[in-house]
């Protein structure tokens, strides 16, 4: 069972930065699911998401001593997770993609298991977006970061964040049947 600690992130992060291993462990436990969710949605693949999550947790562990508390721990932590996922996406783009890794097409939702089908639909929808778009959506809808924070993490202006999120959501809505039509070429750069 993981370490539970009721202290806020800021206190745990400060303690962890000072070398408190239990505080670090509690922080990691607290944020592993969120980190994984971000990685999972950016990568749209279970295996790659676990790899990226592991990379991110290691990076947090190794970098916590340098965390100075000027930013919120979550912003820093999710930046690490996003970078890990985007790195993994880049690595994946340079290697052959196996059949298992390919997102299923939307018609896979005709299968009997609705939960699985729904997951496949989401993955298929996300697969139509570039990882940068997925990252913007994931950081907003899974990490609850505001546009300014997302812009800091992705290195883009808030207006571009807004546009990417909107197009990402529209693509997803279109594919999972929540909306008629799909957006225009969401994998292209935002004007």
């Amino acid at each position: 069972m993981g370490v539970r600690d009721e202290r806020p992130d800021s206190e745990l992060a400060a303690a962890a930065a000072a070398g408190d291993r239990r505080a670090l462990e509690a922080l990691l436990y607290r944020h592993t699911d969120r980190i994984h969710a971000i990685c999972r949605r950016i990568l749209a693949n279970d295996h790659d998401a676990l790899d990226a999550t592991q990379e991110a947790l290691i990076a947090v562990t190794r970098g916590i001593a340098k965390f100075d508390g000027r930013a919120q721990f979550t912003t820093w932590c999710y930046r690490v997770a996003t970078n890990a996922a985007l790195d993994e996406a880049r690595r994946r783009s340079r290697r052959p993609v196996t059949m298992e890794e390919m997102p299923e097409a939307a018609h896979a939702s005709a299968g009997p298991d609705d939960i699985v089908a729904s997951r496949l639909d989401v993955d298929a929808g996300l697969a139509r977006l570039s990882p940068d778009y997925r990252a913007a959506v994931a950081l907003r809808d899974l990490a609850d970061l505001d546009y300014a924070e997302i812009g800091q993490i992705l290195g883009i202006p808030p207006g571009t964040v807004r546009s990417r999120i909107a197009r990402g959501r529209a693509a997803l809505a279109g594919l999972i049947g929540n909306q008629e039509g799909t957006p225009e070429h969401p994998t292209q750069s935002t004007p």
């Binding site: 069972m1 993981g2 291993r21 670090l24 462990e25 990691l28 436990y29 592993t32 699911d33 994984h36 969710a37 999972r40 949605r41 295996h47 676990l50 790899d51 990226a52 999550t53 592991q54 990379e55 947790l57 290691i58 947090v60 562990t61 190794r62 970098g63 001593a65 993994e88 290697r95 052959p96 196996t98 729904s118 639909d121 989401v122 959506v137 994931a138 907003r140 809808d141 899974l142 505001d146 546009y147 808030p158 207006g159 807004r162 546009s163 999120i165 909107a166 197009r167 959501r169 529209a170 997803l172 809505a173 999972i176 929540n178 909306q179 957006p183 225009e184």
Partner: protein, 298 residues
Amino acid sequence: MNDQLPPLPADQVLELLSAEIDGEFDAAATDLGLTPADARARLDATPGVAERRAALTGTRTALAVPELDEATRERLVSTALQSPAASDELSTRRARRSMGRVIGIAATIAAVVVGAGALAVVAGDNDNGDDASLTAEAPSADEESGDDDSEGDSVGGDDSAEAAEDDAAFDSDGGTAGAIVGAPDPYSYFLDFGDVTSPDALQAAVAGQLRGLAAQSLPATGEQLFDAPTTRFSYNAGCYAVLVEDFGLTPPPVMQGPAIYAGDSVQVAVFAVADGYQALVIGSECEVLDDQFVTPEP
């Protein structure tokens, strides 16, 4: 009043509705050159807005990712927490290896200068192998010496002298670029290395696999057993990330696969380095159980 307002273009509707979900409506309206009130009014005048709003709101729910099971979470966290220790250990070993190399070079130079016949003969006969054996022996020879070179090393922090030493010895860029003739392409072959409990066994297993690969006309990239399912343990990526950084290696390994070390299941990963191969025996906790420099056969 709304009847007099023209509907908004579809892309603006999308941006405004999405921003509205996120509480960023006013900023979005301003960026689009509208006052928030105008934007609201024109949005309301656009047909189908309620449905679109509901559809976009629904994606948030669809994006939710199930929580990890406790065992997976535990494994991810414990692996991460072990990484600094693994890294320190690797730094120590790296420093020891560097020291061994320095001693070896110094000994060779001394032998040549003084003209000590026996040493000179050994050095002359075994040019590449000499370096390899020194590299291989250094860690175990130093293990009793209480070498504390890496104390205080921050994880992932490259320490000056030893990093420089290692960069010279394991210069990944130059090493790979100046690759050994006949070296496999930089894609992982997935192979069984058998029992690698002793350094000699590891050397022999790796050399044997290299011979086997060299004997084949190397298959095209697409045919290589890259990322075989059994290499997809989630600890691998993080583990390799630490290892390649601390050993100054360039991923991916040219070969990797299961092996047995002292009766335990382990992994062997073999990386191309400047003048040969670096083979690592990696335990289930990402600890390096043995590392051997393997000289390619001519």
